[in-house]
Amino acid sequence: MQKIAAPIQGLIEEFAKLPGIGPKTAQRLTFFLLRSPEDQVTRLADALRRLKTDIVTCSTCFNIAASDPCAICGDPERDQSLICVVEEPLDVLAIEKTGIFRGTFHVLHGALSPVEGIGPKDLRIEELIQRARTTDLREIILATNPNYEGDYTATHIAQALQPSAIKITRLARGLPLGGDLEYADEGTLARALEGRRTFE
């Protein structure tokens, strides 16, 4: 049996590691690129390389960005006294899409999970507390996911921020329980933001 050429096999294997892509799809994508014009493939390769070389972490909000500070932290039009705390960079995208939020973000890069061994030190929680101490803040919105892990993380942060004069809020319960923020539709998310309540 003729073995498949190594460069093709290699790309199939890399594609198959991506979420939601099985071996069949990986093959289809590889052969699609094989038939594509060279400049198109080169653009894809460049885009992939730039993903790692041209991306930095914003040292204020820890979102992944093209510059430090990121476009949001560096924007004088944004309300720097309002921070929305989210688990993942994709959640920033979801909230930005609502178009109603004019503050800044803080990306934790995960949720606490004592069972999986993810503790406060594995997330950007200490950095948030530092930020709250050194910035003149009006409000911190805890917009972690509306599930056990997200509530757990929010409760920890609310406790860690005490004592403090900053108002701490949580997204309204309008969000369907159990899902991930990044999948919420814009209307629901906007309502959850507008209806946020003081965290107990």
């Binding site: 004592p114 069972v115 509530d151 757990y152 409760t155 329980l177 159990g178 539709d185």
Partner: protein, 266 residues
């Protein structure tokens, strides 16, 4: 369940990990079949009807389709939601701890109805305690974990060991079998499974002060409803925690990851 492709089970989600684009893989502790693994497809989407009933620990009626490795969750209905649990950090950590202990203690598809009943009872107690703790108007009572919640977790540990066949001995010496005397010089050995009398002190891994021994006995033999509220000093509480942690670590072949988080949380 001969050739039955679709089946019902009552259970609680012990653990869940994200999988693929929007799926979650669940470890569910069912009353009927013990621990099973299942996939909830698309469950991370907020529009998913599955999302709401695969939350950790809620007592839920599941409909599942048997798959080759994983069952597939098709429907669910929550029977009991422990809604106050995640409202305090200590109680939420305790929820994780209960889930981890059961996950470590049981093999897949090994029915353990008594452990299931114990888990449900413990979560109910913790949930009620969280509600009481949150509404307690006396700030001093909120210093440190709630006394009743703490006892519920210790009770769970002792009962779990018992149901797994490792009932710890707190009434007689595990070496010479003589009845323990109410003295300060008793000891404890986790590998031997309990208390050690002063004459057998060379087998002791740690000391077992009288108050610690009394608290352990009380939790072991008293019905939950009859258990008094114990306001203990930190040293005794740490000591009781330590004895039970050594026993669990020994019998589960593993230190539980969430123990530290629970022990150091107030």
């Amino acid at each position: 369940m001969a050739n039955e492709r679709v089946y019902r089970a009552e259970g609680m989600v012990l653990r869940r990990i994200d999988y693929g684009e929007a799926d979650r893989i669940l470890t569910i502790f069912t009353r009927e079949q013990g621990k099973i693994r299942a996939i909830a497809k698309g469950a991370r989407k907020t529009t998913s009807r599955l999302a709401g009933y695969i939350e950790l620990l809620n007592r839920t009626h599941f409909m599942l389709a048997a798959g080759r490795d994983l069952s597939i969750v098709t429907q669910g209905e929550i029977r009991e939601r422990y809604e106050h649990l995640s409202r305090t950090y200590w109680h939420a950590t305790a929820g994780y701890y209960i889930a981890e202990a059961i996950d470590r203690a049981l093999e897949d598809r090994e029915p353990q109805t008594a452990v299931y009943t114990l888990a449900c009872a413990t979560l109910q107690r913790l949930n009620a305690d969280a509600a009481a703790w949150l509404s307690d108007p006396v700030p001093a009572n909120k210093a440190g974990p709630a006394a009743r919640g703490w006892a519920a977790v210790r009770n769970f540990e002792i009962q779990l060991l018992d149901l797994l066949g490792y009932r710890p001995a707190f009434h007689h010496c595990v070496v010479c079998e003589s009845a323990l005397q109410p003295v300060e010089q008793n000891g404890f050995n986790a590998e031997l499974g309990g208390a050690v009398c002063p004459a057998c002190a060379r087998y002791a891994q740690r000391t077992l002060p009288l108050l610690t021994l009394k608290v352990l006995r009380l939790i072991q033999v008293t019905d939950w409803a009859a258990l008094p509220v114990m306001r203990l000093d930190t040293r005794t509480r740490d000591d009781v925690d330590g004895v039970l942690q050594q026993l669990l670590t020994h019998h589960l072949d593993h230190a539980l990851r969430s123990w530290n988080a629970l022990h150091h949380t107030t």
